[in-house]
Symmetry: C2
Subunit: 422 residues, 2 copies
Amino acid sequence: MLSALDLARRIEAGELTPAAVLDKCAEVIAAREEEIGAFIALDLDAAHRRAQDPAVAAGPLRGLPVGMKDILDTVDFPTGYGTTFHHGHRPVSDAALVSMVRRAGGIIVGKTVTTELAHLRPGKTRNPHNPAHTPGGSSSGSAAAVAAGMLPVSVGSQTGGSVIRPAAYCGVAGFKPSYKLLPTVGMKCFSWHLDTAGLFAAGVADVAFAASAITARDLRVDQSTPAAPKILLMRTHIWDQASDDMRGAVEKTARAAEAAGAKVSDVDMPQILQDAWDAHGTVQDYEAYRALAWEYDNHRDELGPLLRGLLDAAAGIDADTYDAARRITKRARQALSDLMNGADVILTPSAPSAAPYSIASTGPAIFNRLWTLMGTPCVNIPGLRDEAGLPLGVQVVGRFGQDRGALEAAHFVELALARLNA
Amino acid sequence: MLSALDLARRIEAGELTPAAVLDKCAEVIAAREEEIGAFIALDLDAAHRRAQDPAVAAGPLRGLPVGMKDILDTVDFPTGYGTTFHHGHRPVSDAALVSMVRRAGGIIVGKTVTTELAHLRPGKTRNPHNPAHTPGGSSSGSAAAVAAGMLPVSVGSQTGGSVIRPAAYCGVAGFKPSYKLLPTVGMKCFSWHLDTAGLFAAGVADVAFAASAITARDLRVDQSTPAAPKILLMRTHIWDQASDDMRGAVEKTARAAEAAGAKVSDVDMPQILQDAWDAHGTVQDYEAYRALAWEYDNHRDELGPLLRGLLDAAAGIDADTYDAARRITKRARQALSDLMNGADVILTPSAPSAAPYSIASTGPAIFNRLWTLMGTPCVNIPGLRDEAGLPLGVQVVGRFGQDRGALEAAHFVELALARLNA
């Protein structure tokens, strides 16, 4: 994989140019894209022209190539939102996050494959570690492009588990920041209380670097040794739905962190968080029935069966049911804040297992949806593998608004795992 | 003016058809639109075709004609967002609220004039009560169309004071619901923590009817006598910036409500709310610099001088300053909730005065911005006039999520004022 941080440092030091990085990406894309299918649109020529602009390398992203999930509007690339009927659509303005990447000196080389409207119907992307397995979704192309070494940075989004899950399946670092840290303006909406933009890069320090560069916030974790965090190990009420390998990976991670100096304590999942886990679907589906009203009312029969079924059922959710789910959310956020008082992060699986066999499904979001609803920062930590050699991701969940803390704890854990594997 | 509630009842009773209501609107539009300039796009033929569909009159909005502010995406009308460079743009999907109006059986007859990107640069609209005066903004056309009797219902939005202020200036009921009660998906974003969609109609019971029909929520206030509310009279720290007429109108309203049985008590504005009032601009401008990044980065010189200047300055707001403003917001919301404990609504001016002379400016939002930041429901109550005969609007502010309570209190006050004037 391409380390964004390493490339940026070498560009900053004058040892490398954005054009040379692009050449490297183009080489890997030429070798692997046909098999992986991470892109729905790609323009390396335009990227090369942009790489000639000296302002690009002077920006905090140093002219690094970036992949943009195809639910974010772009003027210079078609934006089809993973549908048949929006295919070829040309937005009149860029999404806010697209502009922010450009302002930071990122070069958007293409649009990465999304599932249909960022829900569950898969696109063409395959897992770079085994093309017979799913890359996860909905940010399939963004995760796979980084995992395959085609790009150092990519942008995705999560409404259920669409950043952390594909990051875990593809073995890359994924960062779902606190709700609204990254604007979703110009990103196709599925659920306005849940949609969260996020980032992918090779390792935790890379994704923190990219987040810092794009937001002009102090989020980098590479400039000092991360402090030993206080970690709550939460196996959750669905622990029995995690594979043996995944359970082992989480336990191993906890021991590695402990051995490196972290304080790890077990914590049960309070009932209110289980209630919130249940409430996620109500909030998501009620909002999707309105956010995707035009698509449903005009193209229902062209939607995939899962999304069509979701929206059919969602039409029947009334405002009282939705309001009750929102009240549970509010109470759960407070309870989570109380639970995490004195701790830095929760450690929990990123997904039930490694990437499942078959690209016909993108896998379940059961270990993600609660944290999306809570709005808390989540980081997928790569580095572990199952018996078949497929990546296993573990997740740290930080406190709302403490994104730097979440990234730092994730980096600590990542380093602890690397020491263990060394 | 056209009472939405009265028209809907007559359609429901079979005394009137949607087509007949459209004819009435068309007649007023023919007589007044040239002078008022409420519409940027209008399609009465398409509206008439839609009025023939029996499903329309069966919906809760009963086939009523609706005007849609031109920052909401519509597939069947151009959507220019009040700019020169987006003029003629055709979105590929409807905004969620557009679909919700259609699902409810509303007939969208046209797009109403917005100021540039819902900021301050005025469009062509004039105040129906005196065309030399501003209708207010940014929802200029939506307020003026209802005030002139051209439409019974229209949709607008508020980031500073863009629903309540034009409603006050034009002498109609305006309803800014709790933050996110009406989705902003597909509405051009200025500030994601502030943008709030809202509604205009002749009186409070009309706007409550429309809100209820569009959201399928129990928001109607016409089906029982409103209970006497507990009202906090808040003159605010900028009371000296309200005109004598406006101060008199607020005092008169308080006395009228009291005479009708309401409990009215004076309340000072706590310092934290004054701090939040100051913080509004930081939140708005920081977010606008990102939400409108594409417009600023590509069309800066085509923007009006006020918006250009705002964005120039906003580029310098750093994340720490923004985060501090967000923390003030959070504390202020809690303080406001505590302050309103045991009360139903706050009574305060909707604007500093009646609509100012000249259409070169849309007037100040100083009596609105705090409540937008607080996310609380606000209702402009029409019925009073200044010495020159121009409407004076007073505002009630409800508790967050208590939209029905805010509308009911507003209706109580409106009836009390009507009795006083009778």
